[in-house]
């Protein structure tokens, strides 16, 4: 199984505003860092340019990050143990405090590419019902479902 993660953030100012410039400057290096990170499998791209953000109909100034990883550890090491951490530390400069879950994870079969609608539905599930095996977080993590007895003992 692979680990899918989706996170959303609402910008305080548009992407082309001076207040957001430091964040935008980080898009290309952070995307390059993630794409080269151990355990990285896939991410939803907004276009051919390294700074293109994901296009969607879920509201203006909502940034969506959607990716697939080999394991909790590889995702964790990219998010919190690389230069990416500095952007998380400064997130309040660019993003509003949402007061509800903004990150969701769930397990998918290897080779499967999840859709954005599916990812947003998982976030809704987490927000409505709290963490469970189908929608969880780093803090309330769930292991992948054990495969039904397909392999002989």
């Amino acid at each position: 199984m692979h680990l899918a993660q989706l996170n959303v953030a609402r910008l305080r100012a548009p992407l082309d505003a001076p207040a957001t410039a430091d964040f935008v400057a980080g898009l290309e290096p952070m995307n390059a860092l993630s794409d080269a990170a151990p355990g990285f499998v896939w991410r939803l791209k907004g276009g051919d340019q390294p700074t293109d953000t994901v296009q969607h109909d879920y509201g203006d100034q909502l940034l969506i990050n959607f990716s697939v990883w080999e394991s909790r550890e590889t995702l964790w090491n990219y998010v919190y143990r690389t230069a990416h951490l500095e952007y998380l530390r400064r997130r309040r400069e660019w993003f509003e405090h949402l007061g509800e879950p903004t990150v969701v994870m769930w397990w998918i079969p290897e080779g499967y590419t999840p859709t954005l609608a599916e990812g947003m539905a998982r976030l809704d599930l987490l927000r409505a019902q709290g963490p469970g095996p189908d929608a969880f977080t780093f803090t309330d993590f769930h292991q992948p479902p054990t495969p039904a007895a397909t392999t002989p003992a």
Partner: protein
């Protein structure tokens, strides 16, 4: 477990290295004989403070590479001793959740900086060593081998690492060190903060 000074010296030496340590190296590091080192190293493994494995130290593989040697590293397990019992961890988690819920990161960082500024120490390296960071030099950068807040950093990484950076900035001010700047430069298994030399002033 660590009351014996030889054992303590061996533990401190192994724990401070960024690599697995063989018996010869540990004996040299602690200034004791290889036999005595081996005895205490294995006691430390029994006690759960060190972990051991086998590795060819010559770097050569296959025939002629020699027999694999027993090597030691700091155990990932945490040991906390408090008499009488105290539980600061749970309270810290409660406060961290409250900061998150309130969106109070900036106030918390300002508080961490003030706490750092109140520290009295001879110098940056001494201040960091006293607080358990295990500082070491790496290509002109002062790095920290140990995260003193590891468990909390696993639970609330962004908040705890941000507070740690602010605390370290406060430490710099407290020891009057204007030659270094603290920044986030995390690596798996180490502390998130590193100190670089200032070039521009």
């Amino acid at each position: 477990m660590l009351r014996d000074p030889v054992r303590r010296a061996l533990y401190d030496y192994v724990a401070a290295q960024g690599h697995e340590v063989g018996r010869d190296e540990a004996a040299r590091g602690a200034g004791v004989s290889r036999t005595l080192a081996a005895f205490h190293l294995d006691k430390l493994v029994e006690g759960g403070l060190l972990a051991s494995g086998y590795r060819r130290l010559s770097g050569k593989a296959g025939p002629g590479g020699g027999r694999p040697a027993k090597v030691y590293r700091r155990s990932a397990a945490e040991h906390q001793v408090s008499v009488p019992p105290r539980d600061y961890r749970t309270l810290a988690l409660v406060l961290a959740e409250a900061v998150d819920a309130l969106g109070g990161d900036q106030a918390a960082e300002a508080a961490a900086r003030r706490v750092g500024e109140r520290v009295a120490a001879a110098g940056l390296r001494e201040a960091l060593a006293e607080r358990g960071y295990q500082p070491y030099q790496d290509e002109g950068v002062l790095r920290l081998r140990n995260c003193p807040f590891h468990l909390l950093a696993e639970e609330r990484p962004v908040l705890v690492c941000s507070l740690n950076l602010a605390l370290c900035e406060g430490l710099l001010a407290a020891v009057g060190d204007a030659d270094h700047a603290a920044r986030l430069d995390p690596r798996p298994g180490e502390c998130c903060v590193a100190f670089s030399k200032n070039n521009d002033d």
